[in-house]
């Protein structure tokens, strides 16, 4: 079964709940190697998505994601705002006016999101950013799709890979974003943005399945 606009709205609502639940944890991660605002920033953005959705859900998944994108861009600020915003925007554009998302569409959306983040932020895998979560997520999604998985399976595989990717940032020296100012001292900490990416994908997967 695919995912219609209403379901995508639910997915975003679940994401908002996850961000709210993990706000303090994300702040703590960012305090260690950044400026202690990542949880607050994302929460401000997703809370705004919630209230926008409360006043009406558009017809297509792409339109819903576009609302999320513009809300994030105008509410989050910092590095995460434009990056997450671009991710959602590229996914929305990619999905066009399809009315339902199947496994293939989910893969395409994730691919577009990753391209958007890389285009804006210029980070590579191994720089200890959200790309370290999103990039393996895309790979895993492709593989799950190739293996015949449905949308839920694809998102589940992406979430698992993202979690692993986020964990993989712990031993890394950050080379992008605020943590890069720390040089060697960034070693030993999970990247906040990679962690939030994994958390969001997990909650998306759980809501779809």
């Amino acid at each position: 079964m695919g995912c219609d606009a209403k379901r995508v709205a639910e997915v975003l609502r679940a994401g908002a709940a996850t961000v709210a639940d993990h706000k303090a944890e994300l702040i703590d991660l960012d305090r260690a190697i950044g400026d202690a605002d990542h949880g607050e920033n994302l929460d401000r953005g997703f809370a705004a998505i919630l209230s926008t959705l409360d006043s009406g859900v558009p017809e297509t998944p792409g339109a819903v994601l576009k609302i999320a994108a513009t809300t994030l861009i105008s509410k989050v600020g910092g590095a995460a705002g434009p990056l997450y915003g671009t991710a959602f925007l590229r996914a929305a554009t990619k999905l066009g006016d399809r009315s339902e998302l199947d496994a293939e569409a989910v893969v395409a959306g994730l691919e577009a999101a990753l391209e958007g983040v890389v285009a804006r932020g210029k980070a590579e895998v191994g720089d200890a950013t959200m790309v370290d979560a999103l990039s393996p997520a895309v790979e895993a999604a492709r593989q799950a799709h190739a293996d015949g998985g449905d949308a839920a399976a694809v998102l589940g595989a992406a979430a698992d890979a993202a979690k692993e990717g986020a964990d993989s940032t712990v031993p890394l020296v950050a080379r992008k974003g605020r943590a890069s100012y720390l040089g060697e001292r960034s070693v030993g900490h999970a990247d906040p943005g990679a962690t939030s990416t994994a958390l969001l994908l997990r909650s998306f997967a759980e809501t779809v399945s």
């Binding site: 702040i27 305090r31 190697i33 950044g34 400026d35 202690a36 605002d37 607050e40 920033n41 401000r44 861009i73 105008s74 509410k75 989050v76 600020g77 910092g78 590095a79 995460a80 705002g81 434009p82 990056l83 804006r120 932020g121 080379r175 992008k176 974003g177 605020r178 890069s180 100012y181 720390l182 040089g183 001292r185």
Partner: protein, 333 residues
Amino acid sequence: MKKIINEPAAVVAESLRGLAAVHADLVRVSYDPDHVVRADAPVADKVAVISGGGSGHEPLHTGFVGAGMLDAAVPGPVFTSPTPDAVQAAISATTGEAGALLVVKNYTGDVLNFETAAELAAAEGLDVRSVVIDDDVAVADSTFTAGRRGVGGTVLLEKIVGAAAARGDSLDDVERLARRIVGQVRSIGVALSSPTVPHAGEPSFDLGDQEIEFGIGIHGEPGRERIPAESADALVERMLDAVTGDLPFNSGDDVLLFTNSMGGTPPIETYLAHGIAERLLADRGIRVTRRLVGPYITSLEMQGISVTLLKLDAELAELWDAPVHTPGLRWGI
């Protein structure tokens, strides 16, 4: 956490309300998206100089809006870059035919958000340029990182570029001047204590009773290294070495020396540190011909100082001396 605030989420807007009340003759404050523009904006036939960034660094940038400096400032949440729509609102309120220069401190968030705003403005047919300032020598400059942070040099750049725009320089000239300043200004900061971000509620880092964070940024990001507390003489010398080891300031050079309080360090210590820096530079034959001392780019209540050196020539000195009338900086008017 103990602060004189109400809800953490309301800190920026409530502080702006104070600014609006005190300086109604100088600035107009708009909320949601938050932006501060000159009371007499838009000023006809003048390049608009616009800056912004996370809040918590006051008077930077909102306190530098006014005659001879910024046309607009866009304050984000505490330590968080503002969003493109807020920047765009500031551009719309101040920018005409002469165009605008965006002064952007080099942080990924600021660069991305201001970049987006500039694109949106360009789409509306406005001539908007950006200059990114990255004067913090604490961070290794490398293409494999986000690059150096923009810190104390921003204050000097905004004053001087603001004066150039005020005397009627074209956008090309203002932009060129800004890039020239970026090339010849360098800073270093130290922290004696950590700031506490209101919504985080806890200090951003822990510092032992006998430790100093050397090479601190302005967001409570940990610095370059932790050093044992030492005398002001030793500390200031270490700071100057870091600056002059990066961009050679030479015997005979004229410089502007800016000794900045990070927010929690009081005037008695800031002036003391400045006095030491003057002496050490004189020993090296570097001539301090202009100075600025005080809390001009703060990091909430963090205790610490930063030292900024700008190489001066006749034009920069003249523009520095030009009249300025803002909440945070005023002379000649």
